[in-house]
């Protein structure tokens, strides 16, 4: 009996192997291309978000609110880097595609933005409000980013804060009447301990995730409420870096005015510069604020106000 062999000619075998290789290459290239397109799109979105924050620079308004609607479920990753003259605000976005989050390693950076939010904010609609931070001169506008999915409920707020929240009219920040799912922000000592965030205006501290963040002024209080402790501490250091540079500019301006028009202001701006530079964490903020208040008072009564 003759044995049966499967006879495949070399040409066929070669064609199969080469064909398989070409198909593999085509699939690999398509996958890489789709991944790359997603990454490009995500990077573009991140950059656009940053650019769209430009109009939030306030004149002399107390606060400003706006919203961003995304075409699909989006994740905004907020990162902060303190290296360099001003540090960097880094953001990246990824969107949900076929039930999975697109993977993106590209972060878009901005030196002139300060976004306070949780590390990752997720949703289709995002609320943004901004508030100027003075220390003692205007340092920057702080941007608070939240998702419409998360509702913040402020309890027992001081009248000033209550009025501000009312005038902001931001849909995801409500006053009192909290529901179970709300993130509760309490301004008084809560006996039941059912608050997610505690604000103590006497000690000027915000307690969140079992961590304490120190603040001065309302703009930093909001920053501590809406951001993760890590983001808050990093952005605060970045704000101090900008304070440092602005103190130098104002110091030069003081010298210029003194030389050209003979008007002296005698503000201890170099001391402010050094203290801002040495700020280790928000716990030291109060010591910097002492000199800030002193400078502010002197500038108010100066013949030639520097700001």
């Amino acid at each position: 009996m003759e044995k049966g062999y499967l006879q495949i000619s070399f040409a066929w075998l070669f064609a199969f192997l080469a064909g398989a290789f070409i198909i593999f290459l085509a699939i690999y290239a398509s996958k890489a291309f789709i991944q790359n397109s997603d990454e490009v799109q995500d990077t573009k979105t991140s950059k656009e978000i940053g650019i769209l924050l430009n109009p939030l620079e306030t004149g002399f308004e107390t606060g400003k609110t706006t919203s961003i609607n995304m075409p699909s479920e989006t994740r905004i990753q907020n990162r902060c880097d303190i290296f360099g003259t001003f540090g960097k605000q880094l953001i990246s976005t990824s969107k949900k595609s076929f039930g999975k989050w697109t993977k993106t390693d590209r972060l878009v950076d901005f030196e002139n933005k300060y976004i306070f939010s949780e590390d990752i904010v997720e949703g289709e609609k995002f609320y943004i409000f901004s508030k100027p931070f003075y220390f003692p001169f205007k340092v920057s506008d702080l941007i608070y980013l939240t998702s419409s999915k998360e509702r913040y409920c402020f309890k027992d707020t001081p009248d000033r804060i209550e009025n501000e929240i009312k005038s902001l009219n931001q849909k995801n920040i409500i006053l009192n009447n909290c529901s179970e799912t709300d993130i509760k922000v309490c301004f008084s000592l809560n006996i039941n301990g059912k608050c997610d965030i505690n604000v103590d205006y006497n000690s000027k501290i915000v307690k969140k995730n079992n961590k304490i963040m120190h603040f001065e002024y309302d703009s930093l209080m909001y920053a501590a409420v809406f951001s993760s402790p890590e983001i808050y501490e990093c952005q605060l250091k970045r704000l101090m870096k900008r304070t440092e540079q602005l103190a130098l500019i104002y110091n030069d301006k003081a010298a210029l005015i003194s030389y050209k028009v003979g008007c002296n202001s005698n503000l201890n701006l170099l001391a402010l510069k050094n203290l801002a530079n040495n700020l280790e964490s928000s716990a030291n903020l109060n010591s910097v604020n002492l000199i800030v208040e002193d400078i502010q008072e002197k500038n108010k009564v100066a013949n030639c106000k520097l700001w």
């Binding site: 950059k47 769209l52 004149g59 205007k138 030069d252 301006k253």
Partner: protein
């Protein structure tokens, strides 16, 4: 006969190899063309983003801490640029190189006919402040602002505030 068969097979393998090389080359060329097309789109997008940034930034730049008058010249003013502060800023500009992500910022006195570039030394007897470099390149987006400074008069007035109309322009470059 056997020799003829082997030769025929070799010829087929050669043919197949040539076809494969041709197909691979075709794929590579199509891929290159596609990448070029995709990258030109990316450059356009990057330039568009630069333009968008400049247009949105110009409306608010005068109110940013490095430029704004604050209460230096009486009541709080919007779109008011502090001349002394900007001149001082120019002295520290290396640190601000990537701060606003624009190629240059120019503030030009509208009613001045001269083109004298401002420095710390010739201030305030000059007409144009260029923040980064003395040369300008690229496209611009502009806005009108008031440019204010302190002046001294030897007569009775003493120190007074002087504000002039100026045009603030942000320049951005096309991404190449």
């Amino acid at each position: 006969m056997k020799y003829m068969k082997r030769k025929n097979a070799q010829l087929k393998i050669q043919q197949m190899a040539f076809v494969l090389i041709a197909v691979t080359l075709l794929f590579a060329l199509v891929g290159l063309f596609f990448l070029r097309f995709a990258f030109s789109g990316m450059k356009e997008s990057a330039t568009e983003l630069q333009e968008k940034n400049a247009l949105l930034l110009i409306s608010k730049l005068a109110n940013s801490p490095e430029f704004s008058c604050g209460e230096s010249f009486g009541a709080k003013k919007t779109n008011c640029v502090d001349f002394e502060k900007v001149i001082s800023l120019k002295e520290h500009i290396d640190k601000y190189r990537n701060f606003w992500e624009v190629s240059n910022i120019e503030i030009r006195k509208v009613l001045s006919e001269n083109e004298k570039i401002c420095t710390y030394q010739n201030y305030p007897n000059c007409d144009i402040i260029r923040i980064y470099d003395n040369e300008i390149q690229g496209y611009g987006a502009d806005n009108f602002v008031s440019l204010c400074r302190k002046e001294f008069s030897a007569e009775a007035i003493g120190i007074y505030d002087k504000c002039e109309i100026a045009k603030m322009t942000i320049f951005y470059k096309e991404v190449s």
